[in-house]
């Protein structure tokens, strides 16, 4: 079980309160596909991913980004048991989606940058450290049921 200090929990919830899940989710996924283009391999059914403009404007990317970040919210509601929260999703990503867990780390890093851009001065070092820990925990939980 991951240990979270009171300060870390506070930093997580105060940032999350400021997050527009739809916008940030869409932006994070779009940037993942743009900055690390090989990640597009999982989204051949998404239509036009031929340029950064196409990716940012792609409605399937936006919708999926919102879905992914909404799911992130579940981890935040269950910080004391993220592994259990993501157990089924982990199996899904392994057995059906066949996603290399490295991609969870890549998306986590991108999300941090998106948060930094939105929160700017409010995203201090302790905040960044806490959120890097959180995305690491989420990535670990999503990879946990892999076999």
């Amino acid at each position: 079980m991951v240990h979270w200090t009171a300060e870390e929990k506070q930093l997580i919830s105060s940032v999350w309160a400021k997050v527009n899940v739809e916008e940030c989710g869409a932006e994070a996924l779009a940037r993942l596909l743009i900055v690390y283009p090989w990640t597009q391999r999982f989204f051949s059914s998404f239509g036009n991913l031929s340029s950064p403009t196409a990716i940012v404007g792609n409605p399937k990317v936006r919708a999926h980004g919102k879905k992914v970040l909404t799911s992130f919210g579940e981890a935040i509601k269950n910080l004391d048991n993220v592994k259990a929260t993501y157990s089924k999703l982990s199996e899904l990503h392994c057995d059906k989606l066949h996603v290399d867990p490295e991609n969870f780390r890549l998306l986590g890093d991108i999300l941090i940058i998106v948060l930094a851009a939105h929160l700017t001065k409010d995203f201090g070092p302790a905040c960044q450290a806490t959120w890097q820990k959180l995305v690491g925990v989420v990535a670990h939980a999503l990879a946990y049921k892999y076999h």
Binding site: A30, R31, I34, V35, P52, I55, V56, D109, I112, I113, V114, A116, A117, H118, L119, T120, K121, F123, P125, A126, Q128, A129, Q132
Partner: protein, 142 residues
Amino acid sequence: MVLSASDKTNVKGIFAKIGGQADEYGAETLARMFTTYPQTKTYFPHFDVSAGSAQVKAHGKKVAGALIEAVNHIDDIAGALSKLSDLHAQKLRVDPVNFKLLGQCFLVVVAIHQAAALTPEVHASLDKFLCAVGNVLTAKYR
């Protein structure tokens, strides 16, 4: 991984915007790296790594200077950073994984101070550039 013409334009552009604040960005990058990835402090046992440390500020300036040097010689980063590459291989021997961590923190600092300029395209180019710098610095490790 190769820097395209537009990558080079994007990187030069964002560094032009950063301008004279590069030193501060360097210091902030290191401070965030030490906080976010405490294991990176193991390379600086001789440093005061607390917030506002003069040593961290000075070292941040060095790091920023090296990045600017790479930007100014973006067609030959290996040549521009050759001595630094030797230093890292022979003396410092910083594990290669740490350059990614530094890069991540630099991107965060740029995102905070230049959010509007860090479009997805520029973000991609800057990430590639930072990877290229890391590759050059570890190129002679073995």
